[in-house]
Symmetry: C2
Subunit: 212 residues, 2 copies
């Protein structure tokens, strides 16, 4: 790697750290210059401005998330083992207080950017949609492999999983709930249990019919 790209990689690492702590909006060229001990004009040699910096941080956050949560899960066999690995990796990623806060940055960014349409918001949104699609696909494979119930609503499965992750952030950050970690783990276990063929003897459709 050339010196310029090595330098840029180091700057991006520092930027991800700042965004992980202060959100994508707390990441300014000035703040970053202080963190890496460079002048603002030195940083501008690597990034055209705040917008490009923020977008590259989101891209790096996405890459980190893929590297620590999704990619390792694909080494597990198709079906429930792979779904479980995804949830497990995600739990560990959420609890990692190091610099690997890609997932956290992406969720926070989409909240911060909620009312600001543009390429940054679009990027954060599309990464999350891709991720949800990945979970759906893994759950669909688990159905095909006979691990999950045939009538499992895989979209709802992915929706529930992601809602629980969002709940985790909210309970932990906004409500200072000491049980957030425990509850997320249990919620994931319940979701898996509900989805398995062998664990639950229910037919949702029949239940609904009976009630009408």
């Amino acid at each position: 790697m050339a010196v310029a790209s090595q330098t840029k990689a180091l700057i991006l690492d520092a930027a991800v750290k700042i965004a992980s702590r202060d959100g994508i909006d707390g990441l300014t060229i000035g703040e970053l210059a202080k963190a890496v001990g460079m002048s603002k004009s030195g940083l501008f040699a690597h990034f055209k401005g705040k917008d490009q910096l923020q977008l590259e941080v989101l891209q790096k956050a996405r890459d980190q998330f893929v590297d620590v949560v999704l990619r390792p899960a694909f080494k597990f066999s198709r079906g429930e083992p792979r779904v479980k690995a995804m949830l497990k990796n995600w739990l560990e990623h959420l609890n990692d207080d190091g610099t690997l806060q890609g997932g956290r940055i992406l969720i926070a960014a989409s909240i911060e950017l909620d009312d600001r349409p543009g390429p940054l918001r679009d990027f954060a949104k599309n990464v999350q949609k891709d991720l949800i699609t990945n979970v759906e696909k893994a759950a669909r494979i688990a159905v095909d492999e006979g691990h999950f119930r045939k009538d499992l609503d895989v979209e709802l499965f992915a929706w529930s999983m992601y809602s629980h992750v969002l709940g985790y952030f909210h309970f932990k950050r906004m409500l200072d709930d000491p049980k957030a970690d425990l509850h997320l783990k249990r919620a994931f276990n319940t979701l898996l249990m509900m989805s398995r063929v062998s664990d639950v003897n229910i037919d949702t459709k029949d239940k609904n019919k009976r009630k009408k």
Copy 2:
């Protein structure tokens, strides 16, 4: 009601509408003055400043939420009927595009105020904690009445319910998901089904033991 308090009530209604659309931070004395056709100094006769205005809007949001979601549920009999009524009222409240956006304002406020400690953040946080405690209590009664499983983790029940509501906001607002309403409804139904005595023949504790 004296004219002054009637006027103030009308001003607060307009303020809740603005906060519901733009968030608690989008609510400024200037914006509100325009909406109600009063001068800024006229508004200052009713509120000491932006902080008091924002706090009173959050209080009104809480009152609205209690009036349309919690209080009507207490008219249903103890146990599952009351829990179901809470979830149903909440769903309807989330879908109400009128001015009754108390719940929405409170969730958005706690996100907006995340990094700003103070009485506003504390208020938004405490209202949410109260609400979660109310759901827990209702679920506990449903256990006592024999409607819900004896081994139901009522804290996890409330946590899951609230996580689904947060997921709903995120999927609907940030990800523009057209199925958010459908998924929230189904997630609530699954949660109720999982909690009932008669619907599911599982023993979570045994499962966990077996795995070890």
